[in-house]
Symmetry: C5
């Protein structure tokens, strides 16, 4: 039986990161069944993720969001993040947050590149949490980044 | 049997957004029964929404509020938003937050236009979450906005 | 049998708002029995309110506090407010927050006037939530204020 | 049988406020048994207090901490305070927070005086919450302070 | 039977603090069995720690993280810290947070020294909470620090 992997995302976001992640996951494994749930904005994500876990039986969820550039958008993202952490504690399942802030990139091209890189890498992280936890421990403290090149480990 | 849709709103707000949303909902479907609960201010909304879900059997709630322009008002809105997310996690039901900040519009006319547009669009979002989740997934990453024109998807 | 209405307040506050509220309530109805619980500061209010609801059987609570003018006082008030919202979600009962910030008034006279007006109006709000919810819905979106004159509804 | 009063404190703090509080309590009553639990820093206090309540049977807890002067220290204190309020709501017991910020005093002497005064007064507050709640209500709105002279009630 | 001590850490961090802590623990006692769980970033730590407690039977957990230097990184760390406190309250177990902010050191050398000192000292703190609580009480109010030299107690 396949393991269910949930994807929650928003109509507010300006890029379809979930699509990128789904492609990545399907290219890497046939062991998961993807369940997708789209909501209006990032503040709707925590309960959507919790519903996928508790009502649909997902073992892990990835939450995609793209907060806008204004202070109010940053605050919404903070509230959503707090809720996503709470939802994890209530279910004992991981919900990987994959947010890209609209002001992270200096150009549309850069912003899209960040979205694609972060979505792909967090898709792989979700699979590792499910099937290959050793990989993560082997890379502990290695300064891995999603959306940007790895920072790498500190060197004397 | 009709699905119960809850509406919570405040006497603090300076525009009756709930009325706009109720008109929108009733023009679109006869499948829902609306239950309305008005409280003094935004900080009273989370428990009011939770009561509508747990004591009145609502399947979804829309929460309307209009925080004032001062820093203390912004903080109240943040506290209310945090509570609304928590209430969702405790009930596994969506509570769509529809707040308009009093300083979002440059004129009274603009502020009213924001209120009406956001109330209508979030009313439709509530119906989609109830009856037409596919619509939302088809519009994932499309930069939809409520209260303002859509931002649209990022384009190379 | 009377409905129990809880009042929690502090020794930190510099004005006895609870007394004003009790007078207001007793002048308006004989249907409620008031239970009062005084604690040192605002951060002690959330659990005091929850104890009144769960251990004393109160149907609703009003929480009075007067945070000081310093940033640390503002932060304490924020923490207390967050706890008050949480306590409501855990009990499904309203706890009306009636806080007056010490720097809200330009003079002692103005500050006292704010305290009295806010305490009275929130006492009435508590009674409406108990006995006359229709009143609140009839005043939805009307820009009602406590401690200050009503802002009124937005007008084209 | 004696009532158990818990004391949680830290090795991070630069003054032994718990010792002052214990002396104060023992000089005032023989009705309580004090249970002390020392942890590394303020963020360890919430669970320590909850453990004293749920695993040791304490009826009330006093939590002592001394956050440092940097912004990061202020944030730690905020997180700890939020957790202390949550722990109270989960147990329906009071946890009196007695924090002294390292930058509250202009000199070491002043800082120590604040520590001693606040520890003593909150020790008395804990006893009042246990045995003499009337005292607190008689002093509601009287502007009592801990660590500093009382502000007193507002006077026309 | 050995006591299980959990270690959660991240691939985001740029130094392997967990390794330092494991060496320290193994050099000090043979009474504990270490269970390690590596996740992508600090926001994944709260649920990972809770899973180690509830699913693996850990008696205590140490959570290692290294937030970046940007405001968004500080906010992530705050969200993680809030979740770590919540996880403790839900399990009644200690989760010692051992975070080093990337801008804490003026050079790479200093940053590494902070990481090593903090990891070692918090490893010892975890053992004291498990086996030697008296040590902590004997050092209450002594201004102990991790990552930096002890501040020491206030002196007249």
């Amino acid at each position: 039986m396949k393991v269910k992997l949930g994807i929650v995302d928003t109509t507010f976001a300006r890029y379809d990161m979930a699509k990128v992640a789904i492609e990545e996951i399907e290219s890497m494994t046939s062991k998961v069944e993807i369940v997708r749930y789209t909501v209006p904005g990032v503040k709707d994500l925590p309960v959507a993720a919790k519903k996928l876990i508790e009502e649909e039986g997902c073992e892990i969820v990835i939450a995609f969001g793209m907060p806008g550039p204004e202070p109010i958008d940053k605050l919404c993202a903070h509230e959503a993040s707090t809720g996503i952490i709470q939802a994890q504690l209530m279910t004992n399942k991981h919900i990987i947050e994959c947010f890209v802030h609209e002001d992270e990139g200096k150009s549309v091209e850069e912003l899209i590149a960040i979205c694609e890189d972060r979505a792909r890498k967090h898709a792989r992280n979700a699979l590792r949490l499910l099937f290959e936890r050793d990989w993560l421990t082997r890379h502990a403290g290695q300064g891995l980044r999603q959306g940007h090149p790895d920072a790498g480990p500190l060197k004397h």
